[in-house]
Amino acid sequence: MTARSLESGAPLGERAATSSLWTRIWQNDAPGYLFLLPWFIGFFGLTIGPIITSFYLSFTDFDLLTSPEWVGANNYIRMFTNDPKFWASMRVTMMFVIFSVPLKLAFALGVAMLLNRGMRGLPLYRALFYLPSLLGASVAIAILWRQIFARDGLVNDFLSIFGIVGPSWISTPQYSLWTIIILAVWQFGSPMIIFLAGLRQIPQDMYEAASLDGASRWRQFIKITLPLLTPVVFFNAIIQTIEAFKSFTPAFIISGGTGNPINSTLFYTLYLYQEAFGFFRMGYASALAWVLLALVGMFTAFSFLTSKYWVHYDE
């Protein structure tokens, strides 16, 4: 910089201005960037880099041991035209998203409203209801689930009181996905906490006014609670939908990584994992990952586009 301005014989004032700008940047901002450096390295090296690489790999055949081989769009073509397992796994994940998200949100909202009555020991209950989310999809939970939903499990013990002989829910193809949906609904902690915060924001005087006008509790819920809560519902729905699409661990642990019985718990992500680390088709697995990303992106975009018709923000 300095050399160039000397050669071109720029006026002294400009030189001083340039150098002082640089000095200022260096003095003020450099330490900031220096402190950000570890994050930048992580972001570019461990996140952006692999994302770009996986996009490239999705157009190749790559088995980890030999170099990737360019195959154009073959992976994507095969997926949509000649891979029944792709559609089977897509169906399982779609079923999971469509049923687990609304059920979980409804359940979370219900519990949040119960807890929002200013009862004693609220922090304790909040913590207790949040607990299942912390336990998450651990091995212990998977084993517990097998105990509950097996042939001689808790559910069938309960049903036998009424003389009903239940099947082994967790290993029967028609029901196994539902046991995982119930597991997801059971982990309603984080949307519940957010709903609880949202409910606190609703001014009490609205309810008082409604009561004076003789509105029933149900009417109050429909006309006051729900509309004022829509931003929170929207937020929770987006987050939970993305979570549901990404869901992997419960099915992986409960089915031992197989997606059985008869692929009834073969989640999309589980199929992706099988292709990548079971059959070493990294190229095909990368393509699967990009299709999932596109799908989640489309769902989210659709939600945002329609949100203006049903989400009410404070003006």
């Binding site: 980890l64 030999t66 042939r151 029967t172 193809p173 031992g256 197989t258 019985p261 059959f279």
Partner: protein, 429 residues
């Protein structure tokens, strides 16, 4: 924000810190001799393995740093490390993957060390042969084993039924099944687990018919008729209540503790001879073993002495000779052999086998005797399966067997689909 550090001082300080960090790890690189080892297995196998590495450290001052994972996680990790050029020096290898790893140079041929670092004079010839790919030695067998049916002798005694021997047939299986149903012990215990989607059972049954799962060229070794008959056979066994119900069988997700033998739903289960030790630790009743059922009286040849697993040396290893010396110790040292027992199969070095045999406990003795006395059950070692065999097993054999079990497909449909699907997968790979 009143504390100010001069920038130059800060930079000097931090680079000194970084340098100190780098020097801090130097000594571990500079150590005389160290090797990395990776294997699959459970805690029991790890304890035995680390017993031997401790012994080796005393004997040779070489540090062997081991790492172990469950089978399912093992291959993902090994492939990732190999792709990153960071594979451990000594790699536990399976018959299923050895060709793939050898042909890609991921593991090194060991022929140049045979006779010097590796002494294999009294090593079983067939086990040595099993570790060869294209005529070169890529894996040292850690033990011979065979498929075997595990028998819960306590359950047989309780039901008052004579347990099967190596002579038994599928017809006997029907009879045992009926006997168990009329005895009705332990909440309706069945005779055998549903083995229709157990790959080794299908393999054994095909071999007795003079067929095979795969040919030497890596193609399918059976046709639709065979597959349909196999599913029909198991449909009959299921109908007669000889094997467990499909929704019970589906609870078996792989780990030992989820199997029908351990959960007490079946008295017989197809497995491997070296696994008796592992299962006995989980089952209260005494376990025994016999061969897989014969398709007809006197029909043999279904079994073979398989190298249960190998140790191979990574192609990228910087100390291949050191690794070969460790392999030599692992398979030839008598004391090492006593620690290892037959947990990885029957020792292949004659001297070790003779020294180890008298020291074994009962479960290990049963396994040793079984493999040593296969008699006419024994057939030739089949060629290593093609790379896609794992996918055929997971995507087709297991799923189709379940679909027939749950009534979603007929044996005829499943048989046809197995052949077309497997051909598809083999051609794609």
């Amino acid at each position: 924000m009143t504390i100010r550090t001069d920038r130059r001082k800060f930079l000097m300080g931090s680079s000194a810190l970084a340098a100190a960090g780098a020097f801090g790890v130097m000594p571990s690189w500079a150590q005389a001799q160290s090797l990395r080892l990776i294997f699959w297995g459970g805690q029991g196998r790890a304890d035995r393995t680390y017993g031997v590495t401790d012994l080796y450290k005393e004997a040779s001052d070489t540090d062997v740093a081991g790492e172990f994972l469950a089978w399912n996680d093992y291959w993902a990790k090994l492939a990732t490390q190999t792709a990153g050029g960071n594979a451990p020096d000594v790699i536990q290898m399976d018959y299923r993957f050895i060709v793939e790893y050898a042909q890609r140079g991921a593991i090194a041929p060991l022929d140049e060390y045979v006779g010097s670092a590796l002494k294999l004079d009294d090593f079983d010839a067939d086990q040595l042969e099993g570790g060869k790919v294209d005529g070169k030695l890529y894996g040292i067998s850690l033990g011979a084993n065979s498929v075997a049916t595990l028998i819960n002798t306590g359950a047989f005694e309780e039901a008052g039924i004579e347990p099967p021997t190596n002579a038994w047939t599928y017809d006997d299986l029907f009879e045992i099944g009926e006997a168990f149903n009329s005895a009705n012990i332990r909440g309706g215990m069945k005779a055998i687990s549903d083995s229709s989607y157990n790959e080794p059972s299908l393999d054994n049954w095909l071999r007795q018919r003079g067929k095979a799962l795969y040919t030497a060229e890596g193609q399918l070794g059976f046709d639709e008729t065979d597959a349909v008959e196999w599913y029909q056979l198991w449909a009959k066994l299921r109908e007669a209540g000889v094997c467990v119900a499909p929704d019970d069988q589906a609870l078996d997700t792989g780990p030992l503790e989820t199997t029908m033998l351990v959960t007490g739903r079946a008295a017989l289960m197809p497995s491997n001879s070296n696994q008796l030790v592992g299962y006995q630790a989980l089952v209260q009743d005494k376990l025994d073993m016999c061969g897989y059922p014969r398709i007809a009286e006197g029909q043999g040849g279904g079994h073979y002495r398989k190298p249960s697993m190998f140790f191979s040396v990574a192609g990228s290893s910087a100390s291949k000779e050191g690794a070969a010396e460790f392999l030599n110790f692992f398979v030839n040292d008598i004391e090492a052999g006593k620690i290892l027992g037959v947990e990885r199969g029957i020792p292949c070095a004659a001297a070790v086998r003779d020294a180890v045999a008298p020291t074994l406990d009962e479960a290990n003795q049963i396994a040793l005797n079984f493999v040593a006395n296969l008699g006419d059950l024994l057939g030739d070692l089949p060629p290593p399966p093609p790379a896609a065999a794992g996918e055929v097993d997971l995507s087709l054999i297991r799923t189709l067997g379940q679909e027939v079990g749950f009534g979603a497909k007929t044996p005829e449909q499943a048989g046809a689909e197995l052949v077309t699907g497997a051909t598809d997968i083999l051609n794609r790979a």
